[in-house]
Symmetry: C2
Subunit: 229 residues, 2 copies
């Protein structure tokens, strides 16, 4: 539990995991500042979801950073020439939906804002159990990031170390949803799909849709996502 005056910056994508992470940070008494990225993702409708989630959970401020990662490409999520896979995950390979260095980029920008806010707690909804095989969702990455952050910043050097909180990292998708339901997260506001329609209907077959659907099914709870078929 934090004291009510402790500030935190939470990465909010518009998906299920980050919504739950925000709810958890709030339940622990942090003053919450939400950060979202318009990075050229094909599923940009998630930003509208992010806005509604942050509002519904009463954040103090919600900032959007614009960043043309589509100029870099290299991922099915930022390059329209690469198709989003729909045939299921293989644990052997890092999938083409991996966005090069995305969590590092997002966390360093969260760090930048956190330093300006004097917020020494960063929250990110990464998950190392029911995950997509992304290297930047693992505990060892988070530990290395935290160490780097405290050498990189004025705050870190002057005795205000940053802590990166990953409350979901060892939970299954079903456990995450259970936690969110307990905290009153409105999952109908969230969108997980990598290739939703412009009206925010989910495809139901991409990796993100599969992981989400499996989580709700395992828990025996109806998924309020609107699927296009």
């Amino acid at each position: 539990m934090s004291t009510p005056t402790q500030k935190s910056v939470i990465l909010v994508s518009g998906g299920l995991d980050s919504a739950t992470t925000l709810a958890l940070a709030k339940s622990q008494g942090y003053a919450c500042y939400a950060l979202s990225f318009d990075y050229g993702q094909r599923h940009r409708v998630e930003l509208q979801a992010a806005r509604q989630i942050a509002e519904s959970l009463g954040v103090i401020e919600h900032k959007f950073i614009h960043l043309n990662l589509d100029n870099i490409g290299g991922s099915a999520l930022t390059d329209s020439q690469i198709q989003v896979p729909v045939s299921g995950l293989s644990k052997q390979q890092i999938p083409v939906t991996y966005v090069p260095a995305r969590n590092s980029v997002f966390l360093t920008l969260a760090l930048a804002w956190a330093e300006v806010l004097s917020a020494y707690h960063l929250f990110i909804g990464v998950n190392a159990v029911d995950y997509s095989g992304y290297p930047d969702c693992r505990p060892e990455f988070i530990a290395a990031f935290e160490k780097m952050a405290n050498l990189a910043t004025k705050a870190g050097v002057e005795g205000h170390p940053f802590k990166v909180h990953t409350p979901l990292i060892h939970l299954t998708k079903a456990q995450i949803i259970q936690e969110g339901i307990r905290l009153g997260v409105d999952y109908s506001l969230t969108i997980s799909c990598y290739q939703p329609t412009p009206e925010a209907y989910a495809c139901g077959v991409c990796d993100a849709c599969r992981l989400r659907g499996d989580g709700f099914r395992a828990l025996g709870v109806a998924d309020p996502t609107r699927y296009k078929c």
Copy 2:
């Protein structure tokens, strides 16, 4: 020395240090990709300098990333409400020109592009001798970043570790200039000033101008920068 096929991504700001770093990477045989940032800096005219430098040194590609760091603020370089100091550096304090987490942000974006290019060498012109007291210019920061980068990325995980090169880190400003002259860098193209005029005339009194001027004076070489007074 690298083999001619080894690719590198070099952060090019438009200043003296990064121009020298690019020249050094080229002289070592790397295939050079330049990366610059339009991050809402008040000295945005440096981007025109960056373009000319990269062109003069024959890079393979020069990419510009747009990033609204002025939306975050917290620095005299990104917040027009904070004045650029002109009364000289104090080694006791990190100055207000420090941009929160800037080098971490820039390096993670360089990492993202490098991964797409299969370029495992990043170059950054940080300097720990004649520097401005920024925490993210120190060797311990660079080492921590490199470790983080190799846990964050698909390439790092799959056996292609990234190396962050900091060829200037232990040089004085005079030694950097000497090295650049040896390599044929045209310093008249570079701009170091934190608050240049729109026509790219340097103020001559900010920390960056002072460090640059001292370097040229120590070497007994004329500084080709155009000063406004």
